[in-house]
């Protein structure tokens, strides 16, 4: 793919209130000093979060928002305002307001999967520059996690990032959301922890006596997949690695931890029970155990499901409540609790949590108070090292069929690519200039010609 500089300038001269893209032309890595621990915590919102109802303009654009959103719009009076910003959060996300006030929350507006910078015109004229199979859950998840928007990914950005780090007995890359493309490396693999329960292996003993030795010898004689084909061979490797890693991990997740106490509903004080909260509790423990694990970098993948709300997203007539409100409330309380837990161990500045999702949804609500698949969407970044009050990207022209709507239902062309967003976090995490193209195969497109990673972090 080649785009001339003139094409490029035309493509990027889009409409809309462009906020700081940041890091323009920056070529030095934001590598942390050696020995300075860092962790990234990706929260994937599966199904396609209706993030137009997560971050909402409060200025004159709110009237346009309401008009265009139709069946799913939320009244201005109900929103969670953010001091000093022309944007508010969903009414159910009040748990994040103190995090914003403290300067530990940033907003990323209208980010999405891109292969190359596009305008509405070039989107229409150059299908060869579009991500493959836009609007498909599976493809768009792969484009976020694998970061190969026009190819088939067999590994993901967290896995490739981990490939470039030293190997440790217990992987420094962990998923509490099962196996996902993001955490598959070319050479590295993730420790996958359950969000609840433990990792004990029933009936296994290393005691040395004749009977147990014979049993373990039999287990050993069946443990290998060598000579039984590649699928058996790979499975045997995974099974044996799981047994050896589980013991250490189990010690950590089985112990009691004061960190769990930070995961509470700020209004009622009740302990959080949502799956995303449970996953982040486990992340907090593994960060707390970084020393005993020998990790000076950690990478986490967690998730929240249930965002594919084609119908019944809101309680009709009470759009501040309903399925989506419950999800966002759980997310906000879990992120806030996680941040407080990090502060309690002095790690808030060393840890960054950030959202990802298949895609944003149609700006126009449908007849069933739901929304359909779209493209760009808003995201949240939480951590003690983020730019205080940071707002990145550009909110789209909130008009159906407008300047960046590639259909007539409000499917907005992203203002920033997922690589500029994820790349910023990877750079902060310590990925070197030299390794960026390995972790982000299309990095040259997003790091040249005036583009670069978003300035998400304090200089």
């Amino acid at each position: 793919m080649t785009i001339s500089r003139r094409d490029f300038m035309r493509m990027t001269a889009g409409a809309g209130a462009l906020s700081a893209i940041g890091q323009l032309g920056r070529t030095t890595a934001i590598a942390a000093p050696n020995g300075s621990y860092r962790a990234m915590v990706g929260v994937f919102l599966f199904g396609g979060n209706d993030s137009w109802n997560m971050v909402i303009p409060t200025d004159a654009r709110h009237a346009q928002y309401l008009a265009a959103r139709g069946t799913v719009g939320i009244k201005a009076s109900q929103l969670t305002s953010l001091t000093g910003a022309p944007y508010a959060l969903h009414p159910a996300m009040a748990a994040l307001r103190p995090i914003w006030d403290e300067g530990s929350l940033s907003l990323v507006l209208n980010a999405g999967t891109l292969f190359a910078p596009l305008t509405k015109a070039t989107y229409q004229s150059r299908p060869d520059l579009r991500p493959m199979n836009l609007l498909s859950h599976s493809d768009e998840q792969a484009h976020w996690q694998g970061v190969r928007a026009r190819d088939f990914a067999t590994d993901g950005f967290m896995g490739r990032l981990t490939d470039k780090m030293g190997v440790s007995a217990v992987p420094s890359m962990m998923s509490i959301a099962g196996s996902n493309l993001a955490v598959i490396g070319k050479t590295s693999s993730a420790l996958v922890l359950p969000s609840t329960g433990t990792l004990s292996r029933s009936g296994y003993s290393t005691a040395s006596n004749a009977a147990n030795n014979a049993k373990n010898a039999a287990l050993t004689s069946f443990a290998s997949g060598t000579g039984l084909g590649e699928v058996t061979d790979a499975s045997a490797r995974d099974i044996n690695a799981s047994y050896s890693q589980a013991t250490t991990a189990n010690t950590i997740i089985s112990a009691t931890s004061a960190l769990d106490g930070y995961f509470v509903n700020p209004t009622t004080g009740a302990a959080l029970t949502s799956d995303v909260a449970r996953q982040l509790m486990r992340v907090a423990r593994m960060i707390d155990a970084r020393g005993s694990l020998g990790h000076n970098r950690q990478t986490f993948f967690v998730s929240q499901g249930g965002f594919d709300n084609h119908s019944g997203q809101t309680n009709g007539g009470n759009n501040d409540t309903g399925v989506h409100a419950n999800l966002l409330g759980d997310l906000a309380m879990a992120l806030a609790g996680f941040h407080r837990a990090m502060q309690s161990i002095g790690m808030a500045e060393n840890v960054t949590a950030f959202t990802m999702s298949d895609f944003g949804r149609t700006y126009r609500g449908n007849a069933q108070t739901g929304t359909d698949h779209a493209w760009g969407g808003n995201h949240l970044v939480v951590g003690g090292n983020v730019t205080a009050g940071g707002i990145f990207g550009a909110y789209p022209d909130p008009v159906l069929g407008g300047a960046t709507d590639v259909s007539s239902e409000g499917r907005f062309l992203p203002a920033v690519s997922q690589e500029q967003y994820l790349g910023a976090i990877a750079r902060w995490h310590g990925v070197s200039d030299a390794d960026m193209p390995y972790v982000f195969p299309n990095w040259s497109t997003w790091s040249t010609g005036g583009l670069g990673p978003l300035g998400l972090f304090k200089a």
Partner: protein, 563 residues
């Protein structure tokens, strides 16, 4: 969770292809359009060889919920072709009697048993497992199970027992029927109507959900395929989409104007009366009767709702990519995760034309899958598929011998990562193209579930049902409280009958778990692990020894991967 679902281009790694007289490069035939003009790759002539017990057990792994001594003997005596044909004629399983809807307010919220009976997957899942363990129409059940992992609806969103039963009855009843009938009935299903929001879709703002997933997941897939399942590519080497956003919008328009049938003839405004077991009914005022165009098809203004639906189903069913898409999915779920393009091409050709000019004949498709030389010849380096948890449970239970109402299985399957009829999303428990870890080319769908956490859970499950699996295990006495409850009993008596004959036990394990592929060293290791276990009671000693050997065997990677 969702993942990429795509077709991979596979290198022809199987020596078998050399026999196939193809070019060996994985390039199969390509269909230019529709279902005509298909040039199938000729099937290689298999080298005639004696059909062994091991061969019979291997077919049982592909076509049943796990080999038993009796099943292997039956296959061995009939031969592969005759046994498959016998199975294609078998139809003993049904969910139809469970597909009787009640109002959503029929049960008081505190009545656990009532809610289990009417507002959960439990009765249908119990039936699924009971039939999987003991039913004689094993191949029909396996085929329906594979179909249900492509055409997905889930209790996670819609918890009507009758709806789950009726939806899965469509797949079971049509497993050897025609794929167009499956698409038509699924499209009209009230249960699917809620799951993917076609029910109550209104011309004022049509839902695109069912429209999109029908095309992407249930029929043609997102990108154009050659008949051998490989991607078609344009002049720049890029994939070619099967549909555009406008196509989706056109299909969504054509599918407006439907709502649920109602229990007791209640008004369509009665949200508690939705009958998920019945096809949807028309609400003319919500139907968009204007002209529609999608996928190269035009529906004239004023066309009836039924005609609009038929046009959509025809467009999905007749798309050129649908034959390889369905063929490959079924191969991946029955035989091998990485079929050669030639194998896919041969099966897709049968989907396109069963030999009598009929498209979508699933009986012919399943027959072609199981009798193909690639399924019957010796496995190669890329052959095989990782067992999913459901098959791990059923294969172990069938190898041991179980009498069950299914309840204990459905209390277990969630923790193993595969609660049947409760997929986390329409994308199933794993995508067909989940990458095999460490491989840039191979796929392994069930590997998505083979993670640190599940490895331990699967191991502990096997431990519980073998070494800790005496009939007195409290889990086996779990009572669903439903009329169909008969609890669960492992049938250890047949193992106790071997007495001190360890070789006979090992031989049965070798055949039913490993299709007679164990090495002498492995057989010796099993016996060595069993020998130290002694008990004054000969039955207890025999049972405990069998349990130890079954534990070692069923926790092994070579049992978890069927080749």
């Amino acid at each position: 969770m969702f993942q990429q679902r795509k077709m991979a281009v596979l290198g022809a790694a199987l020596g078998l292809l050399a026999l196939a007289g193809c070019d060996g490069g994985g390039g199969g035939s390509s269909a230019s359009s529709g279902s005509g003009g298909v040039v199938a790759t000729p099937a290689p002539t298999p080298t005639p060889a004696a059909f062994t017990e091991g061969d019979a057990a291997r077919l049982a792994k592909q076509a049943s919920f796990g080999p038993t001594p009796d099943l292997v003997a039956r296959i061995k005596s009939l031969g592969a072709t005759a046994w498959v044909d016998e199975q294609l004629a078998a139809s003993t399983s049904t969910y139809a009697d469970l597909a009787v809807e009640v109002r959503r307010d029929f049960c008081v919220s505190t009545d656990t048993v009532c809610n289990r009976a009417h507002n959960s997957r439990t009765p249908v899942a119990m039936r699924f497992y009971a039939n999987a363990i003991a039913g004689s129409d094993q191949l029909r059940q396996r085929t329906a199970f594979a179909l249900g992992q492509m055409v997905v609806a889930s209790e996670a969103e819609v918890n009507s027992t009758a709806g789950i039963a009726a939806f899965n009855q469509i797949l079971l009843a049509n497993a050897f029927g025609n794929y167009r009938d499956i698409l038509q009935q699924v499209t009209m299903s009230g249960y699917m109507g809620d799951y993917l929001d076609m029910a109550d879709s209104n011309k004022s703002g049509p839902s695109e959900n069912y429209a999109r997933e029908l095309l992407q997941l249930f029929s043609m897939g997102p990108d154009q395929l050659n008949m051998d399942g490989t991607l078609k590519r344009d002049g720049n080497g890029a994939a070619i989409p099967n549909y555009t956003t406008d196509d989706i919008k056109g299909v969504a328009k054509a599918l407006t104007g439907w709502t649920y049938a109602r229990v007791g003839g209640a008004a369509i405004t009665d949200g508690n009366a939705r009958d998920y077991s019945q096809p949807m009914i028309q609400v003319a005022s919500r139907y968009d009767s204007t002209a529609k165009s999608f996928l190269g098809t035009s529906v004239a203004a004023g066309a009836t709702q039924d005609a609009s639906v038929a046009a959509v189903v025809d467009a999905a069913f007749n798309n050129a990519s649908t034959a390889p898409f369905v063929a490959k999915h079924m191969i991946v779920h029955l035989v091998t995760a990485n079929p050669s393009p030639a194998y896919v091409g041969r099966v897709a050709a049968v989907f396109a034309d069963n030999g009598s000019g009929k498209r979508g004949d699933m009986k012919a498709v399943v027959r072609a899958i199981l009798l193909d030389p690639e399924a019957r010849s010796a496995p190669g380096a890329t052959s095989g598929k990782l067992k999913e948890p459901v098959l791990l449970m059923t294969a172990l239970a069938r190898a041991i011998g179980f009498a069950t109402d299914g309840y204990v299985f459905q209390t277990r399957d969630t923790s193993l990562g595969q609660p049947v009829f409760r997929s986390p999303s329409v994308f199933n428990f794993y995508p067909d193209d989940f990458p095999l870890p460490g491989s840039a080319t191979l796929k392994s769908p069930a590997s998505k579930l083979l993670n640190t956490s599940n490895v331990l859970r699967w191991h502990n499950f096997v431990y519980d049902w073998t070494i800790s699996g005496d009939a007195t295990r409290s889990e086996y006495a779990l009572d669903s409280g439903l009329p169909m409850s008969s609890l669960t009993q492992p049938l250890w008596a047949s193992w106790e009958a071997y007495g001190s004959d360890l070789d006979a036990m090992v031989s049965r394990i070798d055949l039913t778990l490993f299709a007679a592929t164990l090495t002498q060293a492995q057989k010796d290791a099993l016996k060595a692990a069993a020998t130290p276990i002694t008990n004054a009671d000969a039955n207890i000693q025999a049972r405990k020894r069998a349990q130890m050997m079954l534990y070692v065997a069923a926790t092994s990677p070579m049992f978890l991967v069927d080749r």
